[in-house]
Subunit: 216 residues, 2 copies
DNA sequence: CTTCCAGTACTGCCATACAAGCAGGTGTCG
DNA sequence: CGACACCTGCTTGTATGGCAGTACTGGAAG
């Protein structure tokens, strides 16, 4: 597995990437297709490929989808929770409490926490779908270094969610989750105000034309 | 645009498809990658590619996601509805009422209706995400020729949803939508009982390995 | 100095050729 | 007759060459 991290707006050349990664253009191209499908890369035929700027509209879409799914999942919580998953969630919260957690580590824990909550209600597999739509949102979150104080706030919110879940209080859990997700969304908006150059203007998303489609 | 319809379980050969479609392997391969991403095709390196059988688990996932999104959207209905979209929805219902509607035509109208409802609440763009996750569910629906009587039933449910939406009664709209989506899901289960060979056993989904990943 | 035009160099796209690996049939040996 | 080993044919994965189209740059004309 090879990873490359590039700032939004960067021009990507299949040739450059191929030589840089020491592979041919074919696998590079196939990766770009997948990234374009997720909306992380924009491909303009005969012009070039670019790391797409964060699209506020897509961020809002992802936020809506995520909120809908995670709140709906909480309604499907079973009477008896899976002990293993619960233990993992507790351990996750403990790790989050560690003082000096770098952004990436916190991000990973955050992801695992939300996925775990989904698993509790038996909808863990849906997480991958949410993920693929969440690209823009996550990039926005990653870009802004949320200060330690807001990080502590998010951790507290996680705790509140889990607490309500363990109490079996669905309504409280939903309310807490809603508050939490909205707060994350507000973080993103703050980032946008501070670093507008990373975000795109209105409606830059171009449709992706595909010539050959095989339909099963 | 080229479409091909193949029954689940069919072995796909990139070469065969290429010759059949009169193109080279490259575009075929790129399409297969996208289909694999949606879970409609399974690719086993050095073995072959196959039209994946309908996975009941993924159908359930799609149902959950769809229900979550569409119900959540109804909560975001604005006070004043977009007149153009409303007109389109009315026209759509009228078309659905046509007596002898073949399955494919009804399917298209059904899709457009649900997308329209999402647009009313300003979340029309989310539909594409739902779509990409809905592949298994749609295939299942397509496979079974839902009799005209159930089709009439679905149309009536659509009418009820739109009626409640126009009345501004969010709760009634949500209830109607929930009933409708559950009914569709039940249709699928009936199909599975009648044609189990089109469905997969438990957990046939294989992970997709990707060698080169560029991360924006 | 400005403007227009043509040439060049780049892009992504498609077709083709090669490499690696698995499955199954077949021949041979015990 | 049975079991094992090889070998052929197929698969997907990767590399490469050539094609069509766009953007940029340099020079010439007004």
């Amino acid at each position: 597995m090879l990873t490359l991290e590039l700032p939004p707006g960067t021009a990507l050349s299949e040739n450059e990437l191929a030589t840089a990664l020491q592979v041919s253009r074919t696998p590079v191209r196939e990766s770009l297709i997948l990234l374009a499908e997720e909306g992380l890369v924009q491909v303009f035929p005969q012009i070039g490929s670019f790391v797409s700027r964060v699209d506020p509209a897509q961020v809002a879409d992802a936020q809506f989808l995520r909120e809908a799914v995670e709140l709906a999942a909480l309604e499907d919580l079973p009477g008896e929770l899976d002990a293993g998953v619960v233990a993992r969630l507790r351990a996750n919260l403990d790790e989050q409490a560690v003082a000096d957690l770098d952004r990436e580590a916190f991000f990973a824990l955050d992801e695992a926490f939300h996925q775990g909550v989904l698993e509790l209600s038996g909808h863990g597999r849906t997480w991958s779908t949410v993920l693929s739509a969440k690209g823009h949102l996550d990039r926005a979150r990653r870009l802004g270094l949320s200060g330690t104080e807001t990080q502590a706030q998010r951790i507290a919110e996680h705790g509140e969610v889990l607490s309500a879940v363990l109490d079996g209080d669905v309504e409280r859990a939903r309310a807490a989750m809603r508050v939490h997700l909205r707060a994350v969304f507000d973080d993103v908006e703050r980032i946008q105000q501070r670093s507008p150059e990373l975000f795109a203007g209105p409606s830059t998303a171009g449709p992706v034309r595909r010539n050959v489609v095989i339909w099963a």
